[in-house]
């Protein structure tokens, strides 16, 4: 098996709220991302997806745990020089194409900002590459002097992609890159990401809540619930044969654009909503809503274990699959 590009080991990110309260945004998450693969990360809002992404690339200092990138341990807390050092290795594309671009900068300035800060390329070369990237993401090179508000949501997301990829990173975290876009435009952005991934050999962590889209783009799917990683496996395995009771409910709730399928759907209903991540109780985090909860579940959190035989990978954190 090839060496992973990113190794996330027992990564934890807590936020302190006042003196007594702690938000367990990400708790003890471990998994690997292999070179040139796309890992989809799903989970309900507030489950910690964005925080995990930001902690991996150093936008948040870690509370505990480590991230190893291309065999090198990343710093616990990033300084400005660390960001500069890793800018051409790791990048993040953000959810909101409206607020993530500075409205007072031209599109050319936005895209060229990264390479200028890095200072490894001359001005003429940067200018040339900026125009090249605009074309590459399906915009017009002559758009360099326009401002973000002159573009539609889908076009702005392309600008965000150009801004991240002009730095030629190996690894890109896309945090809900299509959630704010209309259906017809989502497919434009997804196909563009797919083409660029193939031509540049990118490795992607693709965060989204649209399960069908995640299945479409990903090689493997990781599922988070309340700060914990609860299931991970090949995309179709997780989608068509979910193991964790929460993943089962999540996929059972995913609307399909197919009335016949919807009419025959049998509902696995769960009660209630995702609990607060403040001061989490011991035990399985899904216990308060799990239709299959047992006594043991409330005592100690189940660990993420491989339940597949013959060298395959199927990671699940649930007592239903222990002692098999």
């Amino acid at each position: 098996m090839t060496e992973p590009l990113v190794q996330i080991h027992k990564l934890t990110k807590h936020f302190r709220l006042g003196i007594r309260d702690t938000v367990h945004a990400v708790d003890d998450v471990s998994f690997d991302i292999r070179p040139k693969e796309i890992v989809g990360l799903v989970g309900e809002s507030g489950s910690g997806k964005s925080t995990l992404g930001k902690t991996i690339i150093g936008l948040h200092a870690k509370t505990a745990g480590s991230v190893t990138f291309a065999g090198r341990r990343l710093p616990f807390r990033f300084s400005t020089s660390h960001f500069r050092k890793f800018a051409n290795r790791m990048q993040m594309i953000f959810q909101d194409p409206y607020s993530s671009l500075n409205p007072r900068m031209t599109v050319g300035e936005i895209i060229a900002e990264g390479p200028k800060l890095l200072g490894t390329k001359g001005r003429v070369k940067i200018k040339h590459e900026t125009r090249e990237w605009l074309e590459r993401v399906g915009l017009n090179a002559d758009h360099v002097s326009r401002y973000p508000h002159e573009f539609s949501g889908g076009q702005r997301q392309r600008i965000g992609i150009a801004r991240a990829l002009i730095l030629e990173p190996d690894f890109v975290i896309c945090d809900e890159p299509i959630s704010a876009l209309d259906v017809s435009v989502q497919a434009q952005v997804i196909n563009l990401l797919g083409e660029l991934k193939d031509s540049l050999g990118l490795t992607l962590l693709f965060i989204a809540h649209d399960l069908s889209m995640v299945r479409y783009v990903s090689d493997r799917i990781a599922v988070m619930y309340l700060g914990s990683l609860i299931e991970l496996g090949p995309a179709d395995e997780v989608f068509f044969n979910p193991k964790h009771p929460y993943t089962q409910v999540l996929i059972g709730s995913n609307p399909e654009p197919d009335p016949k399928f919807e009419r025959s759907r049998t509902f696995t209903k769960i009660q209630g909503e995702i609990p607060s991540p403040v001061n989490i109780k011991p035990g399985c985090r899904f216990a308060s809503r799990c239709p299959k909860v047992m006594d043991v579940c409330r005592k100690k959190a189940p660990e993420l274990r491989n339940i597949a035989a013959n060298g395959k990978e199927r990671l699940v954190a649930c007592y239903l699959y222990e002692d098999e």
Binding site: V183, V185, L211, S212, Y216, S253, P255, D258, I270, E273
Partner: protein, 337 residues
């Protein structure tokens, strides 16, 4: 359409005057809802879904808004420009409404129970005690646990999904004939969305009301709609039963939307087909077919001539020149797998 549809909207035109010019938000929309039926209005952001429905109920600001043409008949009564039918309020009484953001209809300084009781006192002339009792029953109907306790809480004490339930309780309090739900689950997670949609479906059957569901999510449409109208750039381009729209789409735009979405069939490798470009500017809408600039099947005639409505079946209509008998081409068929 039947002679006595619950709601019948014809040839609706709505404009807004803005500093950038006049926005032609709705450009000739026809739709109807029957009693007990669910009609979904789908389309991309800004295509006029909310304005089409809100203008009928007098919910758009006038000015800058203006209904320039059209007719809307609710249960036999002309309602455009009217707030009441035979002296009784339409909104909150004959027609209930739920929105994407519950806080647009909830008052943050009033308990949930009192807010639900309010329309009952107003429209149903219930006493305070009666209305309060009914409010708790309604919260129970929307499956809010510990309804009596919850009734005395304020909106900030409710989660997003619970607020949506409370708003539904308020909307159905007066047993409306028609419920309008504008993106009721767009802000919610899928598991909560599934709960809320189930709830709306159950209540609709229990109460027998007509439902207009406005959404951009074709997955949600497939799960709840009897009939569907597809809007684009202020027009209704196609309408039909849910099965007709999903399994025999007869407009290139509907086909384009469906081909741009992932579906989950095991062992089928799908390639998403994006629709190039973006919707037209409604300040100066296209003269001919609104979809011509993006349509892979566009013909010369489409650019200058606005398509008329063609009948595909008794329940299925499409505004596309490909259905004209003189046209040699046909709407491409769905790639059935």
């Amino acid at each position: 359409m039947t002679a006595n549809s619950l709601l019948q909207v014809s040839n609706l035109h709505v404009e807004f005057t803005t500093y950038g010019g006049i926005v032609h938000a709705v450009r000739g929309a026809d739709f109807h809802v029957e009693r007990g039926e669910t009609l979904a209005i789908v389309g991309e952001s800004g295509c006029g879904k909310s304005v089409a429905v809100q203008s009928v109920l007098g919910l758009i600001p006038i000015p800058p808004g203006r209904i320039t043409q059209g007719e809307a008949i609710l249960d036999g009564h002309q309602i455009l420009g009217h707030q009441t039918i035979e002296g009784k309020d339409i909104r909150g009484n004959r027609v209930g409404m739920i929105f994407q953001d519950p806080m647009t209809s909830l008052n943050p300084t009033m308990t949930i129970g009192n807010q639900i009781a309010e329309p009952l006192k107003l429209h149903r002339k219930m006493s305070g005690a009666q209305a309060k009792k009914r409010a708790i029953e309604l919260l129970e109907m929307t499956k809010i646990p510990e309804a009596a306790k919850r009734a005395s809480q304020y909106p900030f004490e409710f989660s997003g999904g619970m607020l949506q339930r409370a708003m539904i309780a308020m909307a159905i309090a007066c047993e409306p004939d028609l419920l309008i739900a504008d993106e009721p689950t767009t802000a919610l997670d899928v598991t909560i969305q599934a709960q809320i949609l189930e709830l709306i479906k159950d209540l609709q059957q229990e109460v027998g009301m007509g439902l207009i569901l406005i959404t951009h999510d074709l997955g949600v449409v497939a799960g709840v709609a009897d009939r569907v109208v597809v809007m684009y750039a202020g027009e209704i381009l196609e309408s039909g039963t849910a099965d007709e729209i999903f399994f025999a789409p007869s407009h290139p735009y509907t086909l384009g939307l469906l081909s741009a979405m992932p579906t989950n069939r095991r062992d089928v490798v799908q390639t998403l087909m994006p629709i190039p470009g973006s919707p037209p500017d409604l300040f100066s809408p296209p003269e001919g077919c609104g979809y011509a600039a993006r349509c892979p099947q566009a013909m010369e005639a489409c650019v200058a001539n606005r398509p008329t409505q063609f009948t595909v079946s008794d329940s299925h209509f499409s505004k596309c020149w490909l259905h004209h008998e003189a046209c040699e081409h046909r709407v491409l068929e769905v790639q059935q797998v």
